[in-house]
């Protein structure tokens, strides 16, 4: 890469032009070794009182090397440790990409600062105790453990991360697993390179300055002038990122800026455009031997499958057949890449491959059988959402097959999961963007992938309450869509006994005497589970019988117990639950307390709960109807959401009380 840049470089700096500047209120970054007494005296993080440690500041300087062929990131980080639980922060690990000597670490300095007899005592890290570890062929790690670490101390360290490549622009992370008081990055990028910023930020900067330097690159006495663009961005009081229930991927939530090299401006006779539109990205996919090159490759024995597929009348039958063939033949090796590794031919021979190999085989067979199908790259939910403005393949990690059936119906096929079905978009692909291509039709387009209809679960219970404090009856549980897939998977993987334990929620009072499935093998119909059960109503005594009508539902407990929420709530898809039970009152008893009929809706209609309770002719009927009308919900409205789920959980578990008459 260096060869396309000219070797000699004179730092012929011209007068700097300061474009804009906003001064931060406080001087939050200090030189190495200069420690504010207030920081040593600090007892807790101002904005996250329960933190065991806090990053006081991170300062990163990113600039290009003399020949413009390298990038250096100078990092200086200072951490305050509040208590022994924060001690682990003093074990430092810096991972880097060492394959092909792409990156290396240099200039490590580290020290611990304690207050001893009213004075700052600095203990330097012994350089001999810095270890470099080869993790594998591609990655290495520098590790060291800070000396003299005690509650109240401050540790700080600096190092340079050097990259032997001008495209390897480091990601700028503002957020960590512990709170960050201040984080500032300065970048100095020659205007020869145009990097597009891909920000993922939920807070605004407290500092932002820009300036320019005139410079030139010299070769054989010839000067090539360019402008160096300097930018500094600072953010303060960044909360730690925790794991929360129903949170989307870490990648989706971490505040950071990533960079995409879009173009290189020609100087000295080189020119390369990295500029991309989605159609250009699609073109690259087509040109790539490990993607486009695989689409038309024959696989061994395909004629038999194609011939059989062609014998079906409808596309649906063809799709169902081929999907089943590929899914059952191929075992996913667990790897997700947007490109093939061994290629479709080898993968088919080995009966195993990465997700893209499996799904490009699926695409190929569908296409050859006359189905209007497109290869499409997506990003799994764990990998993180695709940013539609970041036109780069790095965002994707899996290929699937896109089949637009008609204006109302389209299939997204993924044959990697043994329990996936052809007529359901894989849950891992939801709420993100896919790029699908067809060279012959010159189609390179992105679509948003979502599940429109709510995923339903219905439970119908018909039971008789016994005078000895027992209940006996039947339940019919009907699962559609992802609920169906999950139930089938659980049953087939773990077997009947484990599945029954799951249905019982491991409650020893609840016994299942029979379990029968309908439609287990018919993907297009709901899975029906017919359950015969009996249960000890443990709370019952000689006068009262207590029945909790929340049986066989997935809504027994409330996952949203936390008072605060840092990330948006992500259910992935809309949900709808209906639980309906009829309970026969035993002779000699009558109802003493019944839950009330109520209905509760979030002001924005995002979630609703309804309970209907009635008693007639010795039978009590309880009906719940619960709807999650949105797949995702903003953390902004968490207080209302939290309250709703708390109330809902209480009402779900409100009991029927019968009294001996």
């Amino acid at each position: 890469m260096n060869k396309i840049l000219l070797a000699a470089f004179f730092s012929a700096a011209f007068s700097a032009v300061v474009a804009q500047s906003t001064q931060p209120a406080i001087a939050v970054i200090q030189p190495f070794g200069k420690i504010d007494q207030a920081d040593l005296d600090l007892k807790a993080c101002d904005f996250e009182k329960d933190a065991n440690a806090e990053v006081l500041f991170i300062k990163g300087n990113i600039y290009f090397g003399a020949d413009l062929g390298t990038i250096t990131e100078e990092v200086h980080k200072r951490i305050k440790i509040f208590n022994t639980n924060g001690n682990d922060q003093a074990n430092i690990k810096i991972e880097y990409y060492s394959g092909n000597h792409l990156e290396y670490i240099s200039g490590i300095q580290a020290e611990t600062i304690n207050m001893v007899d009213g004075k700052q005592e600095i203990t330097k890290l012994d350089k001999k105790l810095i270890y470099t570890k080869n993790i594998d062929k591609e990655t290495s790690e520098v590790t060291f453990s800070m000396p003299n670490v005690k509650p109240g101390c401050i540790i700080e360290y600096k190092y340079n991360l050097n990259a032997n490549s001008f495209v390897d622009m480091p990601d700028l992370y503002f957020q960590e697993k512990i709170p960050v008081r201040y984080c500032e990055y300065s970048t100095s990028i020659p205007d020869i390179f145009y990097f597009r910023e891909i920000p993922h930020l939920t807070q605004s900067f407290v500092k932002r300055t820009k300036s320019e330097d005139g410079r030139s690159l010299l070769d054989g006495g010839q000067a090539f002038p360019y402008v160096q663009e300097n930018e500094t961005k600072g953010m303060s009081n960044i909360h730690s990122l925790a794991d929360e229930p129903y949170m989307s991927s870490f990648h989706d939530n971490l505040q950071c800026i990533r960079f995409q090299l879009v173009s290189i401006k020609p100087i000295g006779g080189f020119s390369k455009s990295y500029s991309d539109t989605w159609s250009k990205v699609g073109g690259r996919l087509i040109d790539d031997e490990d993607f486009g090159g695989q689409l038309k490759r024959k696989i061994n024995g395909e004629e038999v499958i194609i011939e059989k597929a062609k014998s079906f009348k409808t596309d649906d039958e063809k799709i169902a057949y081929i999907f089943g063939e590929v899914k059952n033949t191929m075992k996913w090796n667990g790897s997700d890449r947007w490109y093939t590794n061994d290629g479709t031919y080898r993968a088919w021979e080995n009966k195993t491959g990465n997700s893209t190999e499996i799904n490009l085989i699926l695409y190929h067979l569908l296409k050859q059988s006359g189905v209007d199908a497109y290869p499409m790259v997506i990003s799994t939910r764990e990998h993180g959402k695709v940013d539609p403005y970041y036109t780069s393949l790095v965002q994707f990690n899996r290929a699937v097959v896109f089949v637009p059936v008609d204006s109302a119906k389209r299939y997204i096929l993924d044959a990697t999961g043994k329990y996936n079905v052809y007529n359901e978009t894989p849950a891992e692909a939801l709420n993100s963007t896919g790029l699908y291509i067809d060279k012959s039709k010159n189609i390179y387009d992105i679509i948003h992938i979502k599940k429109d209809n709510p995923v339903r679960q219905a439970v119908v219970i018909s039971a008789e309450i016994k005078p000895n404090g027992k209940i006996e009856g039947t339940a019919q549980i009907s699962n559609t869509s992802y609920n169906r897939i999950e139930a089938v998977e659980l049953y087939k993987k773990d077997g009947e006994k484990k599945y029954i334990d799951y249905l019982r929620d491991n409650d020893n009072n609840l016994k299942i005497s029979a379990l029968k499935f309908d439609n287990m093998e018919i993907d297009t119909l709901p899975l029906i589970q017919n359950v015969d059960f009996n249960m000890d109503l443990a709370a019952s005594d000689e006068n009262y019988i207590y029945v909790n009508p929340n049986i066989f539902t997935p809504l027994k407990s409330n996952p949203f117990l936390s008072d605060n929420r840092m990330t948006d709530i992500d259910f992935a898809y809309r949900r709808s639950y209906s639980i309906s039970g009829t309970y026969k009152i035993p002779a000699g008893y009558k109802s003493d307390a019944l839950p009330k009929s109520v209905s509760m809706v979030m002001p924005d209609k995002s979630f609703s709960f309804k309970r209907l309770v009635a008693e007639q002719d010795g039978v009590i009927v309880v009906r719940f109807s619960i709807n999650y009308n949105v797949p995702e919900y903003s953390k902004e409205f968490y207080p209302e959401f939290h309250d709703f789920f708390k109330k809902m959980n209480e009402m779900m578990n409100e009991q029927i009380v019968l009294k001996k008459s």
Binding site: N83, T84, K137, N350, N506, V657
Partner: protein
């Protein structure tokens, strides 16, 4: 709940030796062809099995102290995806002392047709450092085959050349949910090498052949049915294995003698000899720090606290195979160390004030295996310190910043440790804590209002392992702590929740929870309100119903739990139904709950107690345990009904 400081401190003390466990060996080419066919597996071996070990042959040739060559060959048929790990080969090694060659993994379909072959060049070469270990010399080679269809047969062969050993490892004969058709293990060793072996959970005997001055001992097993390790059972009590050792060994170039515990202790002693003292200046400082303290025991307690406050635990696996501690002077300067370094440092502190102490190697984690007096063998993974005061021996866990002076907890209690004394190794029992040393005491005040709203104060006093749990919890974020309390105590979700850590003194950790509820009753109708008559569940667990329990059930420790709940009834209300008193008994404990209504104060007071005197429940008592716990849950579930006064 995990005790962070403790679980961290399990070191890969024995990592190197573990390398040799689980390896079975052989000469290739002598396996009958039908072993590659899935169809020839007898039905009896498929029952409860995820995989079947069709054939295994391990041949070990011990060349001399610390030197052995291993030939390994096995054939496994994998029946379903729960056996997939059998198609993964992981070979841990050390660059200097351990070399693998002739590695091959071949994969066959159901009919015995080879479908894939892997070599060393296909393997991933990685650093065997866990997240919590900061540095280690250990590495591993690994390769995984993805199985497309079942059954599939995987054949593995390799040779290993080892030049550093303590004992001779073990033959871990059977794995969880794997049956064995045919397996053998042989060791060829000089007849005067002092070879010995010990069977565990199996009683097979070797067949010996003598040739010149070496003997080959060969063990064989056939047609072992698969079984599944039960929940809360201990692996070391269940799985069959044979351990091997001989007299002389060489470890990382250092010679040792493993004929007795005493001689092995001498080896460890020698490793520590040049690292177990502080500088004279520091020793003088330490003496000065303690010179006003009268008794040795008080001095030791002072220095233990000094270490707890100043040093931190960091896992480092360097030095002689992770056996030799970092010098005491290193810990003194850098203020950190692993279990070996911190125990050695504590010993050096005590030495400075003329208090003798013994480094003690042990197996850590609840209910782990004690050292076998009859068979010296290095299966240890942790180090603690023993201070032999005249009248009472004191044990110190040096990796913890929170343990009380002289208490160990379930992490290392109640098992034999190897003390490293002046005369070499000596096996000694660590103390066993009884139920009164692991107490959970709670005092709850619940005050109800007529509209169903309520305020509750829960005061919890915890000792022993409960104390560790509650200390561990305080490192979590506040929201996580609240959730954890809701889960472990089965709290109803409050509208307001405050956690007040009160004190941690003399081994008693006190915590207060202040809770507010908008509606505490389960349901109200007419003049009546129905209540769960407590705020916390004293016993919040049951065990599953099992048809026939085969192995003993282990709790982590004995326990004594109690809860007194005082409920102020709302004004204008009185008791309609008081939950019944109950008294339940179990062979190792009892549960009692009593309810009293004080009409004058309009208070209901309940007193509940749960005792478990022994943490090991014999398999034949399992059903009793399960029914006993179910009965407790039922007793706890009874309701309090109150009604408006007429």
């Amino acid at each position: 709940m995990a005790k962070k400081s403790n679980t961290q401190s399990i070191l890969l003390f024995t990592a190197l030796f573990m390398v040799f466990t689980g390896k079975l060996f052989a000469q290739s080419g002598d396996a009958p062809k039908d072993l590659y066919l899935a169809s020839t597996i007898p039905d009896s071996l498929k029952d409860k099995a995820n995989s079947v070990l069709r054939y295994a042959k391990t041949v070990v040739v011990v060349k001399g102290p610390g030197k052995e060559k291993i030939k390994f060959h096995d054939i496994v048929t994998i029946l379903n995806e729960k056996g997939d790990h059998e198609a993964t080969m992981v070979l841990p090694y050390n660059k200097k002392y351990d070399n693998f060659s002739a590695i091959e993994m071949r994969v066959y379909d159901e009919k015995g047709q080879q479908i894939k072959k892997y070599h060393k060049s296909d393997m991933y070469d990685g650093s065997a450092t866990s997240d919590e270990t900061i540095v280690s010399d250990e590495r591993f080679l690994a390769v995984r085959h993805t199985i497309a269809a079942y059954p599939v047969t995987v054949e593995t062969e390799y040779e290993e050349d080892v030049t550093s050993l303590v004992d001779l490892g073990s033959w871990n004969i059977q794995k969880n949910e794997q049956s064995i058709q045919n397996a053998s293990y042989s060791i060829n060793i000089a007849s005067d090498a002092g070879f010995r072996y010990a069977n565990k959970n199996i009683s097979i005997k070797p067949y010996d052949t003598i040739s010149g001055n070496t003997v080959t001992h060969t063990w064989k097993v056939k047609n072992l049915k698969a079984f599944k390790l039960e929940e809360h059972a201990e692996r070391w009590k269940v799985f069959p294995s044979i351990r091997f050792a001989c007299k002389n060994f060489q470890f990382y170039g250092t010679d040792g003698d493993f004929s007795t515990w005493q001689s092995f202790g001498k080896f460890i002693k020698a490793l520590n000899a040049d690292v177990c003292s502080l500088t004279p200046e520091r020793e003088a400082e330490i003496r000065k720090m303690t010179d006003t303290i009268k008794t040795d025991k008080e001095k030791a307690a002072f220095l233990y606290h000094y270490m707890q406050q100043n040093m931190r635990y960091v896992s480092i696996q360097l030095g002689i195979g992770g056996l030799k501690p970092f010098p005491a002077t290193f810990v003194d300067q850098k203020k950190y160390g692993d279990c070996k370094a911190l125990s050695n440092y504590m010993s050096a502190l005590l030495k400075a004030v003329n208090i003798p102490s013994y480094y003690a190697v042990i197996n850590a984690e609840a209910n782990q295996e004690p050292a076998d007096p009859l068979f010296p063998y290095n299966s240890f993974n942790h180090v603690i310190l023993c201070v032999p005061f005249k009248s009472d021996t004191t044990w110190l866990e040096c990796t913890s910043t929170t343990n009380q002076f002289g208490t160990l907890g379930s992490f290392t209690e109640n098992r034999r440790a190897l003390l490293i004394t002046e005369d070499g190794g000596k096996l000694v029992n660590t103390p066993r804590s009884n139920m009164t040393e692991n107490q959970f005491k709670s005092d709850v005040h619940l005050s109800l209002n007529a509209d169903g709203s309520a305020k509750a104060t829960v005061k919890i006093g915890s000792t022993g392992d409960y104390r560790f749990d509650y200390i561990g919890m305080s490192s979590m974020k506040l929201d996580e702590q609240k959730q954890t309390f809701m889960e472990i105590l089965n709290l109803k979700q409050p509208i307001s929740f405050d956690i007040k850590p009160i004190a941690d003194k003399n081994g008693l950790k006190e915590t207060e929870l202040d809770l507010e509820y908008d509606k505490f009753f389960d349901i109200a109708a007419g003049d009546k309100q129905f209540y769960r008559p407590h705020v916390i569940d004293l016993v919040a667990f049951t065990v599953p119903i099992e048809e026939k329990r085969k192995s003993d059930y282990y709790f982590e420790h004995p326990m004594q739990k109690s809860c007194v709940t005082t409920i102020d009834l709302p004004q204008g209300f009185e008791v309609e139904t008081l939950p019944a008193n109950q008294s339940l008994k179990f062979v190792y404990g009892n549960y009692d709950v009593k309810y009293v209504y004080d009409a004058a104060k309009n208070q209901v007071i309940s007193t509940a107690q749960f005792n478990l005197s022994n943490q090991v429940i014999p398999a034949e008592k399992y059903n009793d345990l399960q029914q006993y716990l179910d009965s407790i849950i039922k007793a706890q579930n009874k309701k309090l009904v109150i009604k408006r006064k007429a």
